[in-house]
C-alpha cells in the first residue's frame, strides 16, 4: 500500500484524531469517579421523614404491624426445589397481617453469589433487603459503600439485641466487625449449634458384624471399616462424596475439629489460633494428623480413592448398589439413601453415626452460631420507610413469633399446637419427611420454611429441633452433649488494602494445601515429604500472610 500525497491534510486529521482521543480518554477517566456514598457514622440517627409505616410502640416481643401499607424491595434467591409463586400464603399473610408487601428481584440459586456481587458492585437498583448472605460474604461490599452499617442501628432491633445478649453471642458478633468497628451483616443467630454432617453406614451390616453404631474414636471407626472389609472384600467400606471444590471437604470438615484443626468447608482463610497467635492451618501438625488418618484409610484399602474425585451421583450410586458400605451424609441426604433402598425392596438399612472423637478429643468447631443472614442496602437509610423496615426485619428474623411464622406457618392453617406445646404439621402438608406422601409441601405450596425468610431454621433450640425427625433430634442432642466447642479465636479485621493483599496469598496457599491434601491422601505423594510441602508453603508468602493477620489482631485488641 503506497502512501498517498497530501501530507498537510493527513497531519491535520492526525492532530484532530489525537485531540479527540485525549478528550475521550479524559472523559473516560472522569466517569470512573462517581459521587461517593456517605455513610451515617453515628448513632442518634435522625429518623424524621423516615418513619412512614413504623410503629411508635415497637419493642421486644411486639407483633409488627405497619401503620400504613409498606413495600420493601427484596433480593430473592430462587431455589429450584421451591420456585417462587406470587400467591404464596407467606406473602399474602405478611400483606394481610403485617401490611408488608415485597417488590421481589429474583435470581437463581445456581449463580446467586455472582448475581448478588454484580448488582451490589454495580450499585444500581440494589434491592433494600439482600437475603441469604453468609458471614464473610458481606466483606467484599463494605468498601464500595453499597451496604448499610447495621451496627449503627442495633438500638432499633430489640429482638436481635436481646437474643445476642441471652445467648452470649457478643464475641461472635465482634468477629463480624470490620476495621471501622462496625458490622455490615445481620446474621442468623443460633441458640445452639446444629451438627448436620456425619457418616451414614449400612446399619444391617454393622449389626450383623456386631459393630457399635457409636464408635468412640476415629481409630475405632477405622477398625470397624477393617472388619467390614474382611467380611465383604468386594465392596468398598467407605466411598465418599462432596469433593467438588476440595478433597472430601464435607467429611474433613466434621472430622477436623476432633484432630484439633479445620479443613474442607471449614478451612476458610486457613488460620488457626494456637492460643497466642494465628498459625497457618495447612502447615500444622494437627492438620498432618488428619491427612495421615485418611491416607492410612486409603492405603489400607478402606476408603475408595475415587472419593476425592467422583461426582456425588457416582458416590450415591455406589452406596445404593451395595458397592460401598459407608458414605458421608447429612440429615436430608440420608432420606434419599433410605428411600432408594426401600424402593428397591432390599433389606438394607442406613443410619447416621455420631462423629467419633479424635486425637484432640471430642470437639466441635468454634463459633458456628452466626450463620446465613441478610444485608441491607445503604440507600435504605434515605427511605421514608426506614424505621418500619428495621422494625419489620427485627420482627420477622429475630422475634420468636416471626421465626415461628417463617418456619411453621400459621397456627390453624398449616399447623396445630398440641396440649403440651408441640407443634403438629397438618397431615396434608409435608416438609423434611415429617408427613411422607402428603400432597402438599410447606415450602413449595405455601412459601414457609424458605431460606429467604426463615433464618437458620428458627434460631431457638425449640424451633430448630421442632421439625426434625426423631433420629435427627437424637443425633443433634447426642453430638452436642458429647462434644465441646473449640474456643473462639480473636477478631482480626483487616483494612481494605490488607484485604486485597491477603486475598491473593490466601487463595494461592489454600489451593496448594488442597492439592497436596488430595495427593497425600490418595498416596500420590508420600507423607515423608510433609516437611518439603511445608517449606513450599513458606515459598507462597505464608509468613507474610500471618504477619498481616497477627498485626490485625494486635491492632484490634490494643
Amino acid at each position: 500500500m503506497t502512501q498517498q500525497s497530501r501530507p498537510a491534510g493527513r497531519r491535520r486529521s492526525r492532530r484532530l484524531f489525537a485531540a479527540v482521543a485525549t478528550v475521550a480518554a479524559g472523559a473516560l477517566a472522569l466517569t470512573a469517579c462517581g459521587p461517593g456514598d456517605s455513610q451515617q457514622t453515628d448513632g442518634d440517627f435522625d429518623f424524621s421523614g423516615k418513619e412512614v409505616g413504623a410503629m411508635s410502640d415497637y419493642g421486644l416481643d411486639t407483633t409488627f404491624v405497619a401503620t400504613e401499607p409498606v413495600e420493601f424491595s427484596l433480593f430473592y434467591r430462587d431455589h429450584p426445589n421451591y420456585p417462587i409463586e406470587d400467591d404464596w400464603r407467606i406473602l399474602t399473610a405478611l400483606d394481610e397481617f403485617q401490611n408488608v408487601s415485597f417488590d421481589i428481584v429474583s435470581a437463581p440459586l445456581s449463580d446467586w453469589d455472582q448475581r448478588k456481587a454484580t448488582v451490589i458492585g454495580a450499585g444500581t437498583d440494589v434491592p433494600q433487603i439482600i437475603s441469604v448472605t453468609y458471614p464473610g460474604q458481606e466483606v467484599q461490599f463494605v468498601a464500595g459503600g453499597a451496604i448499610l452499617a447495621v451496627s449503627d442501628f442495633i438500638d432499633y432491633l430489640p429482638n436481635f439485641s436481646d437474643k445476642v445478649e441471652r445467648w452470649g453471642l457478643e464475641d461472635e458478633i465482634d468477629q463480624l466487625r470490620q476495621e471501622d468497628g462496625k458490622f455490615y451483616l445481620l446474621p442468623g443467630l443460633r441458640e445452639q449449634l446444629r451438627p448436620q454432617y456425619t457418616y451414614a453406614v449400612r446399619t444391617d451390616i454393622w449389626e450383623e458384624l456386631g459393630l457399635s453404631l457409636e464408635p468412640a474414636t476415629f481409630d475405632e471407626f477405622a477398625d470397624q471399616l477393617r472388619t467390614v472389609h474382611e467380611a465383604y472384600p468386594d465392596a468398598w467400606p467407605l466411598s465418599d462424596r462432596w469433593s467438588a471444590n476440595g478433597p472430601i471437604e464435607a467429611t474433613v470438615n466434621f472430622a477436623a475439629p476432633n484432630f484439633g484443626t479445620s479443613a474442607g468447608w471449614g478451612y476458610g482463610e486457613g488460620l488457626w489460633w494456637d492460643g497466642g497467635e494465628y498459625v497457618y492451618t495447612g502447615a500444622t501438625d494437627e492438620y498432618r494428623d488428619l491427612v495421615e488418618y485418611y491416607a492410612g484409610l486409603v492405603a489400607d484399602g478402606l476408603m475408595d480413592p475415587e472419593s476425592l474425585t467422583q461426582d456425588d451421583d457416582q458416590a450415591i450410586a455406589k452406596f445404593g448398589s451395595g458397592q460401598s458400605l459407608a458414605i458421608g451424609t447429612n440429615d436430608q441426604e440420608i432420606l434419599r439413601l433410605r428411600s432408594t433402598f426401600e424402593e428397591l425392596g432390599t433389606d438394607a438399612e442406613v443410619s447416621m453415626i455420631v462423629v467419633p472423637a479424635g486425637p484432640a478429643g471430642d470437639k466441635l468447631p468454634a463459633g458456628q452460631r452466626l450463620v446465613n443472614g441478610f444485608m441491607l442496602a445503604s440507600h435504605v437509610a434515605e427511605s421514608e420507610n426506614f424505621l418500619a423496615l428495621l422494625q419489620f426485619v427485627d420482627w420477622l428474623y429475630y422475634s420468636d413469633e416471626g421465626l415461628e411464622f417463617a418456619k411453621w406457618g400459621i397456627e390453624g392453617e398449616t399447623f396445630t399446637r398440641a396440649a403440651d406445646g408441640t407443634r403438629v404439621l397438618n397431615p396434608n402438608i409435608d416438609i423434611n419427611g415429617l408427613n411422607p406422601g402428603a400432597p402438599e409441601a410447606l415450602n413449595v405450596d405455601y412459601g414457609f420454611h424458605n431460606g429467604v425468610w426463615m433464618l437458620e431454621h428458627g434460631s431457638t433450640v425449640d424451633l430448630d429441633l421442632s421439625m426434625l425427625r426423631p433420629e435427627v433430634q437424637e443425633f443433634v442432642t447426642a453430638t452436642v452433649d458429647k462434644k465441646e466447642q473449640h474456643p473462639l479465636p480473636p477478631p482480626r479485621p483487616l483494612t481494605e488494602l490488607e484485604r486485597e493483599q491477603v486475598s491473593l496469598w490466601q487463595t494461592a496457599l489454600r489451593d496448594h494445601v488442597w492439592q497436596n491434601t488430595s495427593r497425600f491422601i490418595v498416596g500420590q505423594r508420600p507423607l515423608t515429604e510433609w516437611d518439603a510441602y511445608v517449606s513450599e508453603l513458606e515459598g507462597l508468602n505464608k509468613q507474610a500472610y500471618l504477619d498481616v493477620i497477627n498485626g490485625a489482631v494486635e491492632r484490634a485488641a490494643g
Binding site: S106, A122, T124, Y134, N245, Q314, R336, S339
Partner: protein, 314 residues
C-alpha cells in the same frame, strides 16, 4: 469461490463414499479394504462412545430415582416410569420459560443476521473509507470487553433490564461470524455487482437482489450458528432478568442442575445442598436439546460446507 463437490447433494456424496469396491471396474486393493474395515469399526466405536452419555440421559429420564441412585441405569431404563415427564411437562414455569427461549432465539437471530450481514457487506468493500479502522474496532472487541459490572451498569441505566432487549442487543454481532461473512462477501465475484450497477441498481438493490440470494449457504450457516448460540445462552438472561417468568429455559435448567448442588461451601455446609432428583434433571435436559437436535439433520449440509466458507481468498 470455494469449489466443493459437497454442493452435489447428499445422495451423490453418500454414493461416492460408500461405493462398492468394483465401481468403474477398478477393484480396491486388499490393504485398502482392510483399512476401510478398520476405519469403519473405529468410527462406529467413537460414535458409540460419543452417543453413550446421551443415551444414558434418555434412559435416566424414563427411570425411577431409586434405580438411578443405585447405579443400575445404563442404556436401558429401569423402573420404567413416565411420571417424571408428566411432572416436568406439567410445570407451567417450564413452558413459559421454553416459550421465552423460542422468542428470544428467533428475535435475537433475526437482529443478529441483519446487523452482521450489513456490517460484513459494508466491510467487504475495499473502497470503504476507514475500513481498517472499523475492522480494528470489531477485532478489538473480540479480545477485550468492559467486564460484567460496567456492562450491568450500562444495561441498567439504559433501562433494558427485564426486557427482551437486554438479551438480544448486547451480543448481537459475533465478530467471528462477522469475519467469516466478510471473507465470503470479499470472494463474491465483482463482475456480477458491476453488471447490476450498470443496469441501474443501487447499493441496497445489489445487496438485496443479487448478493443475498446467492449467499444462501453462508446465511444458512450463520443462522444456524447464531440460533444455536442464542438457544444455549443463559448468562445474559440470568444477569438482567429479575423475575423467573422472564428466564429462558436454560436458566431454569441450570438452576435445577447446578443450583441445588451448591458450589458455595458455606451454603452446602448449612445443609442447603439438597439435590434435585436425577431423573428430573435428565428429563429437562432432554426436552431442551431435542429441538436443536431435530433441526440439525436438515441444516447439516449447510453446516458442513459453511464451516469452510470464506476460507479461500481469491
Amino acid at each position: 469461490m470455494v469449489a466443493t463437490n459437497l454442493n452435489q447433494g447428499p445422495d451423490r456424496v453418500a454414493a461416492r463414499i460408500f461405493r462398492p469396491a468394483t465401481v468403474a471396474g477398478i477393484k480396491d486393493s486388499r490393504s485398502y479394504t482392510v483399512f476401510r474395515a478398520i476405519n469403519g469399526v473405529l468410527i462406529i466405536v467413537i460414535c458409540f462412545v460419543t452417543l453413550y452419555p446421551f443415551l444414558n440421559i434418555i434412559a435416566q429420564s424414563f427411570s425411577s430415582e431409586a434405580y438411578i441412585n443405585s447405579g443400575q441405569v445404563n442404556l436401558v431404563p429401569r423402573g420404567f416410569t413416565v411420571t417424571t415427564f408428566q411432572y416436568v411437562l406439567g410445570d407451567s414455569m417450564f413452558w413459559r420459560n421454553y416459550g421465552n427461549t423460542v422468542v428470544y432465539t428467533v428475535v435475537a437471530t433475526a437482529i443478529a443476521m441483519v446487523l452482521t450481514t450489513t456490517f460484513a457487506y459494508a466491510l467487504s468493500k475495499r473502497h470503504l473509507k476507514g475500513r481498517t479502522f472499523f475492522i480494528g474496532i470489531a477485532v478489538f472487541t473480540m479480545f477485550f470487553n468492559g467486564g460484567i459490572i460496567p456492562n450491568y451498569i450500562l444495561i441498567s441505566t439504559l433501562g433494558m433490564k427485564n426486557t427482551i432487549w437486554a438479551i438480544v442487543l448486547p451480543n448481537a454481532i459475533s465478530i467471528f461470524n462477522l469475519l467469516v461473512m466478510k471473507a465470503f462477501f470479499e470472494n463474491f465475484p465483482e463482475d456480477l455487482e458491476e453488471a447490476a450497477a450498470i443496469d441501474g441498481l443501487t447499493t441496497y438493490g445489489i445487496l438485496g437482489r443479487i448478493v443475498l440470494p446467492l449467499s444462501k449457504a453462508v446465511i444458512a450457516t450463520m443462522v444456524l450458528f447464531y440460533a444455536v448460540s442464542f438457544w444455549n445462552s443463559w448468562f445474559t438472561a440470568f444477569l438482567y432478568m429479575d423475575r423467573s417468568e422472564l428466564y429462558p429455559v436454560t436458566v431454569y435448567l441450570r438452576n435445577l442442575i447446578a443450583g441445588a448442588t451448591a458450589g458455595d461451601p458455606s451454603a452446602a455446609a448449612a445443609g442447603e445442598a439438597t439435590q434435585v432428583a436425577a431423573n428430573i434433571k435428565a428429563v429437562t435436559m432432554l426436552l431442551i436439546t431435542i429441538p436443536i437436535i431435530s433441526l440439525y439433520p436438515f441444516i447439516q449440509k449447510y453446516f458442513v460446507s459453511g464451516v469452510m466458507l470464506g476460507s479461500v481468498k481469491q
